[in-house]
Structures are given as C-alpha cells and as structure tokens.
Symmetry: C2
Subunit: 423 residues, 2 copies
C-alpha cells in the first residue's frame, strides 16, 4: 500500500512490522558496502591478463622513441589514437595522463586559478568570485575540487535529458560563472544520457565569461552494462562548430575498463587549448608513464576490442543492477516513497526519496551494517536541500551480498518514511 | 700554454690553429646531444627485466588489499619501506607518487600557493611577494617551477660544501623568503655532496617565515658512479631534532634506477606534514599506480639490492665521466680558461668558464652539431650573470660519440676564450 495514503493506524501497524524485520536483519551483524563505484574482484579478474602483454621482450620503440625513457609529454600515439576512437575526437586533441582522470581535472582547475586558461584575462585566484555550475545530483569528487578552490557552486537541476538548459543558459550570462561540471553519458549518479538536444545546446552556449570551462567528464563513455553500445556526440567538434572551440575539456580513463588503480587517462580539447595547457604542464611533468600507455594500447587494441572487453564487464554488472532495480520496484515502488531512473550504463542507481528521508535511511543502514555513499554527497558542499538523494553503488558486492544489502536498504527507507509520517 | 698569460701574437696564432680544427670538426656534420641527464639505452637494457616481475600470476594482495584497484593514497607499504631505507627515513614519512618526483614538487609548491602549507597563515597566492632561495648553479626544472608561480628567486652561491650558509642564514631572516631548493647529494649540476656541517646548519636554520619550505630533492641519493655508496644524513630526523620538524619535504624517484619514464617517486616529510598534504592531495587523486609500486618493490627488493643495480648503472656511467673529466683536464686545464668539480655521482659535470664565454662556447658547439643544456639554464630566469656556467650531461651518448662531442666542446671553449682576448 502507498504510504502517502495510509491512515495513522495503518502506518503504526506497518511500522511495527518493518521495525521487527529491521531488527532481525541488524542482528545478522552484516558488513556490506555500497559506498563507491568500485569494480568487483570478478571484473578485475576478467582483465588481469593486461599485466602479461608488456614484458622485456615487447618492442618498445613507438613514434621513433623508446617508451621506457623520458619525453613526449602528450603521450604515445597508439594511446592517443585509442582514446580518440573511443571519444570520437581526433588523436591530436588527446593528452594522455596517469592512472586518474581526477588528477587531470584537478590540475586543470588548479591551473585556471594559478595561471588562468587560454582565454582568461587573469588567473582565477585574482578574481573576487568564481562561480561554477553543478548539475545535481552529481559527482562528489567533482564538487570537492571546485570547493577546495573556493568556488561558489550553483546547483542546476537535472532532467531526464541532462541539465535543465533553460536554467543553464540563464546562469551563464553572469560573467562570474566560469564553468560547469558534466558527466554526459550515464551521469553520476542518475545514469542519465544527455539528449542530443541538450548536448547541442551546451555546445552552443554563449557564456559571458570568455574563459568559461566546460568540464566534460565522459567517465562512462563505453560503459553500457545493459544492451548495445550507444553512440554519443563528440563535444569537441560540436563546440568547434558552434564557435566555442576552446570552451570544453573532456576527460576519460580506463579505470573501469582495465585495472581501477593502474589505468591510463585522457584529457581531450582543441589543439589550441592543448598547446596552451601542455606548455603549463611541461613545468609539472615530462610525460606520464608511457610503458603503461603502450601496455593499454596493446591490450585494448581499438574501439571494437574495447567494446568486447566492456561486454565482459557488463556480464558481471548487469545482474547487480537488475537486483537493485528489481528490489526497488518490488519493495519501494508500491509504497510511493521514492523515484529513480533505470540506467543502462554507468556505475550507479540514484534514488530520490520523499523529502527528509535520505539521512535517516542511511543512518539506519549504517546501524544494520550497510555502508552507502553519505547522504548529501551528490550535492555541492555535501548539502542536499531536500535530504532526498541517495546514490547506490552496486558494483562491488557479489549479488548474494547485494540482495541482502538492498533488502536492508529498502527496509530502512520504509522505516524512515513511517517514522516521518508518525512523528 | 695558459691563455690568460698569452701575448696578442701568441693568441692570434693559437686562434688560427684552433679555428682550423673547429672547421674540420664542423665539416663532419655530427649530431651529438649532451643536453639532458638522460640514461643511456645501455642502462635501460640493464633494468629492462623489471617488466617481467609483475604478471597476472603475481600475488596482488598487499596490506590486505588488491594493488590493482582503487585506494591507499599514500602508497603500498613495500614501496614506502623501500624508499625509507634508501633515504634513511621512516616508512610512515613516505608518500609514493607516480613516475615523476617533479610532479610531486610542482604539486607541493602549487598547493602552497592555492591552499598554504601546514604552518601558513594564508595561501601564498594571497601574499604580495614570495621569495625563494636558489643555490646556483642549480637545476633548471626547479627554477621553472618557482618561476611559473611568480616567486622572486634569489641566487645563493654554491661552495664545495653546499650552499653558502652564511648567506642563507642571513637571507632567511626575511619573512618573505619562503623556501629553498636543494639537491643535497651530487648536486645538479656541480655534483657536490653537501658536507655534514652544511646539512646540520640547514636543518637548524631559524627562518622568519613559519611556513618556510625546504625543497630537498635527493634525486641522486644512491647514484654513485665512481666508488662505494656514500652514506648521507636523514634530513627529516635532523630537522626534527633541530626543532624544525615540518620544515622539510624530501623527494626522490627511481627514474635513474629503473626505467626513466616509468618509475615511481616519493615525497617524504614529517607525519604531521604528510597528514596535512595527504588531505589536500585526496581531492586530486585516489592513489598513484600501485601495480607499478609493487613491480618496483619486487624488482628492487631493498637497499642492498638497489645498490647492486646502481653498480650496473655505474659501469655504464663511469667511462663517460672519465672521458669528460680527462678531456677537460687535458684540453682546458692547461689553458686556464675554466674550472670544474670532479663528481663521483649524479649525472652532470658543471664547467665554469672565465666570465663571458658560456653563450659563445655553446653557440659554436651548436653550429658544429653538439647540443648542450642552454647557457644560463642553471640560473634562475635562465640568466647567468657571469655567462660562465655550462652543464655537461654525458650520460646519453655512447663513449665514442662523447669523445668527439667533448673534443668539439673544448675546441669551442678555446675559440671563445681567444675571440674574447683578441676582441
């Protein structure tokens, strides 16, 4: 029965029953974790043979140079070509980083503050205020970066087609608005794929700031777990065609393709932008690990083969997402206390409870041994004004554990809703 | 004959002879490079088997976690223990970075500007002026970092025992002086090992700035090429004992131990300092590549075995340094136009010509096909006030090429000296 339609007596009876079940589950003393988007050990096992493709016998000359020595700041061409094919951009637009695109993102924002971007009048640290647009719910690590540099973060609501572009187009008329975070495909945490129209409106924005920075984190570019690969527009070309060639910097990595802690990453942008950024980066580094770049190029080969690797990951991921979505459908949907998207890729399911239930739900989960992403984490400053959004990260636990964790989660959410109703 | 004692007629005759030899050498159309401290291909071959120690069969659990996945920002304990043994500090003082200590150094200075250090009153970007002490000659990439952040760099003369500490102790009384670059063992480029007294005076400095930052780049900590390993004091302990526990951050890497472009690096400092810095770094990264950390720990094993690996490098390096030093001794010493140290470790020989000869010498070299580190590069802003210091990097060319390059170099220096005398 839908909780919103219950009488107090009905709610009391339901609460007694749910609480009893909660106590039974708590008594099991479980320790389950759905906090972060970490690949399962089974996924790592599927790609563990990447450590066999590069040995002392492997030809090490690439682009006329020994990959094992210093040099070639932008990365070796096989790695640049691989990412260009995955992202749909050009190899000369790609800069290959180390094992974390997060570091490339941080470094980009850091350099905007210390040195300024290609079209900046001055470094952002010399400005009174820097505002940054944050589609919400979004990725906590993105928000932490702009928070640590003192940006004023402005939330923009997500729609099923991506950020609400009417709101964005209005906000970018403020010259203090210097950029926007985006996870355009299988957004973190909703799993929403930005529609073509949204992407085109983003590329064609006319921000007042000449150095507006579109942080395009294409983290899940080939990360379908349900169904075939979905083609996605090349934002760099779209920005160029719209007269904004230097507005966007795109990021991606192999963290969820090969080994999470030992992959390679990419930063892609216009050639002019890359020349500017590389000049700044050459003070910081000589080149990222080109041996690992070659290892990845040899292992992943090309887009076609990378998509085959992703099919193997999907075989591990799909049952987990099915478990989450089926449990929500069965346990929560009839009670009318939350809504969610049904993603076909990415790493998360994002649940929006009725206002005021998220913190309490997760506190109950924690007491019962289930750790989840903290309530509020998907909002700037960790503050969800509705106390509603909860990010579920189902990738790490095996299905059997996940079933238990989801049962506990649903019981907790029901308890929180009933407590609120009876308060 | 000593050029400074020549008559004009003698100098003219000598010039005609030297110039004729220069033209003969130029006509050979050589292309030789002594510009950067790059290991020889033969050195890379000696350690190429590092790519065989980590395969899909290697046990990947370390510290109770899978090294291939996310996490453990400070690095795995076998890598921290290895560097602690090499540097003489404690594992808990070590943070393991990616393939470049340069990046860790840049990031440290960058964070001083954007966030401030542990004892900073405010971020350095909010200060009117930041001064940084630069012992000269020094490492161009160090100076580029402080230059790119707009520091006012103050040159401090090097002595055969390290930086002139009378000058340093006076300068650090200025609260705007926020730090100092040091390469304490086999300094870049002189190859000087700081004396125990110098190191102790540095550790016991009383800078006016509470957040004074001693950038201790121990790049050549185990890099003897001539003779046995030389023990060197642990600067972190000395600073602690002198009441400056958080003043120093030490850096090192395996770039010249294993593969130059695919090694691991370390940042070592007090535990308090590390806790502060790690908190800032956790916004930028999750962990550096722990697979490569394990690969290095398995390959290098410990200090004893690392020193054996360094002996192999020394066998390639020593003949090159002997060639450089013997050629200088034979061709330049009798002419009295330059002086130099005779290093037993590191990657460079640093030649100080009579004033005003460095640029001209290198221009002549370039015309004859020998590329060397640009004149002035060893000074802040690339400006050597005496136009005297030249860094020779003999590691890359094979000995046969090096002999030719050194012959050309000496001929060019003699020509430059004679031109000056006859002008």
């Amino acid at each position: 029965m839908n909780y919103t339609e219950m009488t107090v007596a009905q709610a009391s009876a339901e609460y007694a029953q749910v609480k009893a079940r909660y106590e039974e589950l708590s008594a099991l003393g479980l320790k389950l974790n759905m906090a972060r988007g970490r690949p399962d050990a089974a996924q790592i096992a599927l790609v563990a043979d990447i450590l066999d493709v590069m040995t002392s016998e492997t030809p090490y000359m690439v682009d006329g140079m020994d990959v094992r020595t210093y040099g070639e700041s932008n990365g070796i061409s096989p790695a640049r070509e691989l990412f260009a094919e995955l992202l749909g951009c050009r190899p000369e637009e790609c800069f290959i980083g180390g094992n974390a695109s997060l570091t490339l993102m941080y470094d980009t924002i850091s350099k905007a503050f210390t040195h300024g971007l290609l079209h900046s009048e001055k470094p952002w640290s010399k400005l009174d205020k820097v505002k940054f647009l944050c589609p919400v719910p979004g990725y906590d690590r993105h928000f932490k970066i702009t928070e640590t540099f003192g940006c004023e973060m402005i939330s923009v609501p997500m729609t099923p087609n991506g950020p609400d572009m009417d709101v964005v187009e209005e906000l970018v008329r403020d010259p203090e608005v210097k950029g926007m975070w985006c996870v355009p495909k299988y957004s973190n945490p909703d799993g929403i794929v930005y529609s073509d129209e949204t992407v085109r409106r983003i590329a064609a924005m006319k921000p007042a700031a000449p150095d507006f920075l579109l942080m395009w984190d294409n983290a899940y570019c080939v990360h379908e777990f349900d169904g075939a690969f979905v083609e996605f527009p090349d934002i760099i070309a779209l920005c160029r065609e719209a007269g904004n060639p230097d507005m966007v910097i795109e990021f991606a990595s192999t963290s969820k393709i090969t080994l999470p802690g030992a992959g390679i990453s990419v930063m892609a942008c216009s050639v002019d932008n890359l020349a500017y950024l590389t000049k700044l980066m050459n003070v910081q580094m000589i080149s990222y690990d080109k041996v690992n770049q070659l290892r990845h190029a040899l292992y992943l080969k090309n887009k076609e083969h990378t998509l085959e690797v992703m099919k193997r990951h999907a075989s591990v991921m799909l049952p987990k997402f099915q478990c989450v979505l089926e449990t929500l459908e069965r346990e929560i949907a009839p009670r009318g206390i939350a809504t969610w998207q049904k993603p076909k890729g990415g790493y998360f399911v994002s649940v929006n409870t009725l206002p005021g239930l998220a913190k309490r739900t997760l506190a109950l989960c924690k007491q019962a041994g289930v750790v989840m992403t903290a309530a509020g984490a998907t909002y700037p400053y960790g503050i969800d004004p509705n106390d509603s959004n909860i990010r579920i990260a189902p990738s790490l636990p095996p299905v059997a554990e996940l079933e238990k964790a989801m049962e506990i989660f649903c019981v907790c959410m029901r308890m929180a809703a009933l407590e609120q109703k009876l308060a």
